[in-house]
């Protein structure tokens, strides 16, 4: 247990030193607003696994999206992605910055260099 962490009741008691009549439901709503805002920053780092589907390019990250264990993801900002290789190890994969360059080619196929085969 942390050295000192405070409960909602303790937060409420501190608030009521100045605002004695404030309803606890309203304070709880404000605390939840604050938690949403704090979640935008480095306050809770989580890792989750997702399964891929054949020929599926897009995967949902909405608030209700779930990982492969059916847990709600609640993603705010993804900063690192790994992909499982043929040995079952997770390897860091790069984020594509200039996605338009690769996905919308109007010239012929011969205008592109195929990557080296391994």
């Amino acid at each position: 247990m942390a050295v000192h962490s405070i409960t909602v009741k303790q937060i409420l008691s501190r608030i009521r030193q100045v605002f004695p009549d404030v309803p606890e439901t309203y304070v709880m709503n404000l605390i939840n607003d604050a938690l949403v805002e704090a979640g935008m920053y480095n306050s809770k780092v989580v890792h989750a696994k997702m399964s891929t589907a054949a020929n599926q390019m897009w995967y949902d990250l909405k608030d209700a999206a779930k990982d492969s264990s059916n847990n709600v993801l609640e993603v705010n900002k993804i900063f690192r992605v790994y992909f499982m290789d043929n040995d079952g190890d997770y390897i860091l994969i790069p984020r594509l910055i200039d996605k338009d360059l690769l996905l919308t080619d109007v010239s012929s196929e011969s205008a592109l260099q195929a990557p080296d085969s391994r």
Partner: protein, 143 residues
């Protein structure tokens, strides 16, 4: 089940578009390079259970009862008090009939807003960084 991709760092890319995560690869379901250069990067062509591992900032769990402890580091708990006071002072500024009382409440609201911003936005990451010790840089070899 492992994938058939031998070098994901070369064969896979990801990006975010709105609320969607996109994964593309330049190999087929056998792990061989796509032969059509123009459509080299495509959706992954195999189903891989637990194939993607994401690291991300997640939303803290909300509170619903008085006994709940906020789901963030305890160094931020006092900042929650500032956030709530910021809002309540702004409410009272709006309700005050006396302009002087309204001004005082607005100033108090700004004070708590500054404390909240400082705790969470400006110095939050630095204060709660779990990395300790000296910072050292490994230089590139010049030979």
């Amino acid at each position: 089940m492992a994938s058939s991709i031998k070098y994901p760092e070369n064969s896979c890319r990801w990006f975010i578009e709105g609320d969607s995560f996109c994964l593309i690869t330049n190999v087929d379901s056998e792990g061989d390079a796509n032969t059509t250069a123009r459509k080299n990067w495509k959706a992954i062509q195999e189903a891989v259970t637990d194939g993607i591992l994401l690291y991300y900032y997640a939303e803290p769990n909300g509170v619903s009862s008085l006994s709940d402890v906020p789901d963030i580091d305890n160094s931020l708990h006092l900042a929650l008090v500032d956030y709530v006071k910021k809002c309540l002072y702004m409410d009272s500024a709006g309700l005050a009939a006396d302009p002087n009382a309204s001004t005082v409440a607005t100033n108090m609201s700004m004070l708590h807003k500054q404390k909240w911003d400082e705790a969470v936005k400006r110095f939050g990451m630095k204060k709660r960084d779990k990395t300790g010790g000296m910072r050292s840089i490994l230089p590139h070899s010049l030979t």
